[in-house]
């Protein structure tokens, strides 16, 4: 099958483009080439010996035979060696189901060993770091982990210790694998040798559903997959996007799944009075519409920079005609934790995913001032800010409409409380710090009667006679793109899974 690729492309990458996945272990597109595993051997016409396709570049008119008898036999031999000391403990291995050793042995290996008479080498499990275990018996010594720590993290705490068939991955006893980005070695490990303690024995790979999303941890906006099992998010893993996070994500981001599953959610619309009373959506929305219609004096909208662009846009429209102060606040840490070997990638100080979106949609970072205004305002619309630190006295006067996932004490004084979905429970978009608009997809159901904020706000607007029911985040985004100049020229469908930069008409994604 003919393929045409740029000069300097390796055979392995060229084959990928032709739809052929050449088995490989040490090669990873995000790491320097090592050529140590020999799994990727192929036959190249006019070359006397087999070549490693991960390190051999293509030539004009070259004929490569991936599946010749010689090539297949060589790869079968490599697999046979790898299995000599392997414990074959897939039934208790977390990697089973997404293990490249299983996959390639299944594809090309042989069913029986010729080494049954030898005792297997055994080494005990080692604790490498806060979230990482090393199971040396499963290790195939591809050195991806060593190279990641050396070339990407610039924190080379791992090595290859010993040699020959005694070799294992080692760590200096005074060092720990505790870099902010260390968790990536677990993803990079093609087998079940490096494991996350957090995920240990939590789920089998084949039970998981994967949903494309964007990490809500900081303004970097790393592309991730949400892995869910029975409507619970069990882990976050990086999704490749060469423009944003390449193949990686930080350990802080990995921990974000926890709050996505919190049980203390608002599950029904609530009306205020002496007590909060649960009602259906019609009543609650009706009350909200009446409150907006009855506005007197200034109005304030306080939003979370973790809300979607769609919700932020619609929240502004709701109070559009009033004298409006639209504000947000963002939690900032004292520094950035970068992945040194990758340009422009860091766990950012701004710990929210949509600060740039909030700014682009006209919100200002002036929370305190907005609270002051709110003290005498006619109406306060809150979109998922927990109002922590706000003194209850400060919010005596205004009528409050509270859209949120959880109900903080102070929000109990709201006239109407509307339950909304969190990032795992809706479709939407964020804008990251480099002004890239990125889509995230719904991974699980929202609890109880909670609905996406764009739907809730769309219904209020309809009640005000300023729109129709919105049926998707796409409709909401396209409305936004029509009226917000910063988003001009973008369409939801056009964003694809890699996003597009504000102010550029073309989606700026490029193939991995």
């Amino acid at each position: 099958m003919p393929v045409s690729v740029p000069k300097g492309t390796t055979i392995l990458e060229a084959a990928k483009q032709a739809g052929v996945l050449i088995p490989h272990y040490c090669y990873h597109p995000g790491l320097p080439i090592a050529g140590v595993c020999r799994m990727c051997l192929v036959e190249v016409e006019k070359q006397p010996k087999l070549q490693i396709s991960c390190a051999t570049t293509v030539a004009e008119g070259q004929v490569v035979n991936v599946f010749s008898d010689q090539a297949k036999k060589a790869r079968q031999g490599v697999l046979e060696f790898l299995l000599i000391n392997h414990p074959l403990d897939c039934p208790i291995c977390d990697q089973a189901g997404e293990c490249e050793l299983q996959d390639y042995v299944f594809q090309e290996g042989q069913a029986r060993t010729r080494y049954a008479d030898y005792a297997k080498r055994f080494n005990p499990v080692e604790d490498f770091g806060p979230d990482i275990l090393y199971v040396p018996n499963r290790c195939i010594l591809c050195t991806r982990c060593v190279r990641f720590m050396e070339h990407a993290a610039h924190d080379d705490v791992l090595n290859v210790s010993e040699r020959g068939d005694r070799a294992v991955i080692g760590i200096h006893p005074d060092k720990k694998l505790d870099h902010t980005w260390a968790g990536n070695v677990v993803d990079l490990c093609p087998v079940g040798s490096l494991l996350s303690k957090d995920f240990l024995h939590r789920a089998r790979a084949w039970e998981l559903d994967k949903t494309a999303s964007v990490c809500p941890g900081c303004s970097q906006g790393c592309n991730v997959n949400l892995d869910t099992r029975n409507n619970v998010v069990v882990r976050l893993r990086p999704r490749a996007n060469l423009e944003v996070n390449r193949y990686f994500m930080c350990d802080y981001g990995r921990g974000q799944y926890r709050w996505m599953n919190h049980g203390d959610r608002i599950e029904a619309p609530l009306l205020g009075g002496k007590d909060l009373t649960a009602v259906d959506w019609d009543h609650a929305l009706d009350r909200a519409v009446q409150l907006v219609k009855g506005i007197s004096g200034p109005a304030v909208t306080l939003v979370s920079p973790g809300a979607s662009n769609e919700a932020l846009y619609l929240a502004r429209q709701v109070l559009g005609n009033a004298r409006l102060q639209a504000a947000f606040r963002v939690h900032r840490e004292a520094g950035e934790w970068s992945l040194a070997g990758v340009p422009d990638l860091a766990l950012r100080a701004e710990r929210a995913p949509n600060v740039a979106g909030a700014l682009a949609l006209g919100y200002r970072e002036e929370f305190e001032a907005a609270i002051q205004t709110a003290a005498d305002a006619g109406l306060l619309l809150v979109l998922d800010d927990a109002l922590d630190g706000v003194a209850p006295e400060a919010l005596q006067t205004p009528n409050i409409i509270y859209l949120g996932t959880r109900l903080p004490e102070i929000a109990r004084r709201a006239r109407v409380v509307l339950p909304i979905a969190n990032v795992a429970e809706e479709d939407g978009t964020f804008v990251n710090r480099d002004r890239r608009v990125q889509r995230y997809f719904q991974a699980k159901a929202a609890p109880g009667m909670a609905r996406p904020a764009w739907w809730v706000l769309g219904e209020i607007l309809r009640g005000l006679g300023r729109g129709d029911t919105l049926s998707s985040a796409e409709e909401a985004f396209d409305l936004l793109a029509q009226s917000e100049p910063a988003f001009g020229g973008l369409s939801y469908a056009g964003l694809g899974v890699r996003g597009a930069v504000l102010g550029s008409r073309q989606p700026a994604g490029q193939p991995a």
């Binding site: 090595n159 080692g170 006893p173």
Partner: protein
């Protein structure tokens, strides 16, 4: 395996050894390239290379401790734990084996008090290990006591050798 020195740790690279190392560094294009000789200096001084010493070498050469450890564990001639004052290597590869190297080993283990290969004698003076061909197959059985090469060793000669070094 991890082995630490008894505390407190005395640095290997005293000003004099430091000067020796600087001299050595002139012969290499990079500091990293001088890692093997630097490790030899440690082993000469201490008899073995502890994890703390690896960290010291790493600092001196601007490498990471993990990298140094990888190199130390790769080579079998660096000791990762203390050995006897006299370190004996006996060739037991086929030609020497045919000529009775096994008995030389037995005699050595007996007269040094080591008891078994790789162990250190109770007086701390001896460690005996087997090695592959020492390149003196015509003079079986060769042994090395520290840096001294002794050819044509027989079980009968062992006692005399042990006395000489004790």
């Amino acid at each position: 395996m991890t082995m630490h020195d008894t505390k407190p740790y005395e640095p290997v690279f005293t000003p004099e050894r430091r000067a020796g190392l600087e001299e050595l560094l002139k012969r290499y294009p990079t500091k990293r390239a001088a890692l093997l000789p630097a490790l030899w200096m440690v082993q000469e001084a201490r008899g073995w290379i502890s994890d703390t010493a690896m960290t010291e070498v790493a600092e001196v050469l601007g490498l990471t401790p993990a990298y140094v450890k990888g190199v130390v564990t790769f080579y079998t001639m660096y000791h990762l734990h203390p050995v006897g004052k006299n370190f004996v290597q006996v060739c037991t590869t086929t030609p020497c084996n045919i000529c009775g190297a096994e008995n030389v080993v037995k005699a050595l283990l007996q007269h040094t008090g080591c008891g078994e290969l790789g162990a250190t004698s109770p007086d701390g003076k001896w460690t005996v290990i087997e090695v592959e061909c020492l390149g003196a197959c015509g003079f079986a059985t060769p042994i090395m006591v520290n840096d001294d090469f002794i050819e044509s060793v027989t079980p009968e000669k062992v006692l005399e050798i042990v006395r000489k070094y004790s």
